[in-house]
Symmetry: C2
Subunit: 234 residues, 2 copies
Amino acid sequence: MDTLEASLSRKGERTRQTLLDAAEKLFAEKGFYGVTVRAIAREADADPALVAYYFGGKRELFDAVLLRRAERLNQIRLDRLEQCERDAGPDGPSVEDIIEAFTEPLLDRSENGGPGWKSYFALIGQVTNSPEWGEAMMSKYFDPIVRRFMESIRRALPDAPEEELFWSYHFLSGALVLTFAETGRIDALSGGMCKSTDLSAVHKRLPLFVAAGFRRLAKDRSDSGSIENSKAAE
Amino acid sequence: MDTLEASLSRKGERTRQTLLDAAEKLFAEKGFYGVTVRAIAREADADPALVAYYFGGKRELFDAVLLRRAERLNQIRLDRLEQCERDAGPDGPSVEDIIEAFTEPLLDRSENGGPGWKSYFALIGQVTNSPEWGEAMMSKYFDPIVRRFMESIRRALPDAPEEELFWSYHFLSGALVLTFAETGRIDALSGGMCKSTDLSAVHKRLPLFVAAGFRRLAKDRSDSGSIENSKAAE
DNA sequence: GTCTATAGCTTGATAGAC
DNA sequence: GTCTATCAAGCTATAGAC
């Protein structure tokens, strides 16, 4: 439709997107309070007043940055999970398959999607660990896909107590979002052997690591018990 | 010694500690840029100028907050790791034991050490995931104890490729620092079944979960190979 | 050791010209 | 749709009184 195409390519929409790109980049580097409206406008080569014009204020711009890619991402991830279940045999997908379906769309876009996606996930990494924003933002933008993921896992591990699945997801989430931050910490620690930016290394390992954890908690704690009676299982 | 005791109880030292307490609390809530020197002074019931007097500036105060407990903590954790190795049989401690020795002093203090320790770990949770501070701060304050931990693990998993141990540590670190943030996300997700503040629940589960992950990567990737050939091991 | 006073900027937001 | 001009408020840091 002519009007839609015209509306998307209007000067105003381009400016709005440029501001979002600039905000995304800077918020990812220094967090919400570490960035000023003026710095964002400068990065976008736009006027500071336009932040108020398009978004209402700094806080609303922050929300808009998080929302923009969340919508696209949730659709992609939902498709990926459904695909994963369709591809599986009669027993359904393995825990490894489900975790890979859950994390691969994120790792792939962070590594190959360009600087916008990279910044976006770095921002998610910070927001997730923030007492101020963590719960509200993550629940707001990602609850449905996480619940969908949990259902799949529940089917793959039918004997696992619910708490164990939630705690396992918590550990998965922590491992994943630290990965997004790409701080260079593992580079320093490993003397350069491993690189924070090497997300395909994470893609190869995270599903195995996490699936083993899920299975361990599902099995060793299925009739509760202390840490003692399930230690050193091999 | 009289002079030492006198120096520790001098009015100035008390004020300094009160400023550190206030800064620790506020930095943990809103990060470095989210807090002003004035807000810290107000919280400490002290004059804003004293921040410059005792620390030099806001940035140096931030460093001082991180340093204060890191020193004590590193000694405690070193002792705990050595104890763990002394208590072990001739084969050395299990991976589970080592991970527990590494994480328990942190989880225990966050849960039972009072509000200062709680804030400190929440701050660590944010700093770790920050592209701006993560690498520099964590390496600066925690490198020796992490290297010591890696050595213990290496002895417990002698056939594991080095990269696998580093990536496993990375996942452990992510799971741990998200726990410190106590954002309430797992409360919302689980409908109240699990609680972010329940660190003893994490203490019971994290060593099992993470040890299973370490073992999985150590074994399934010991002769490299793709994700495919090691999936669904049971 | 503590505080007052203030210098010198920067902040987020907005009213109104174009 | 964009920008200039400007506001009141808040910022860090410091010089110097007590």
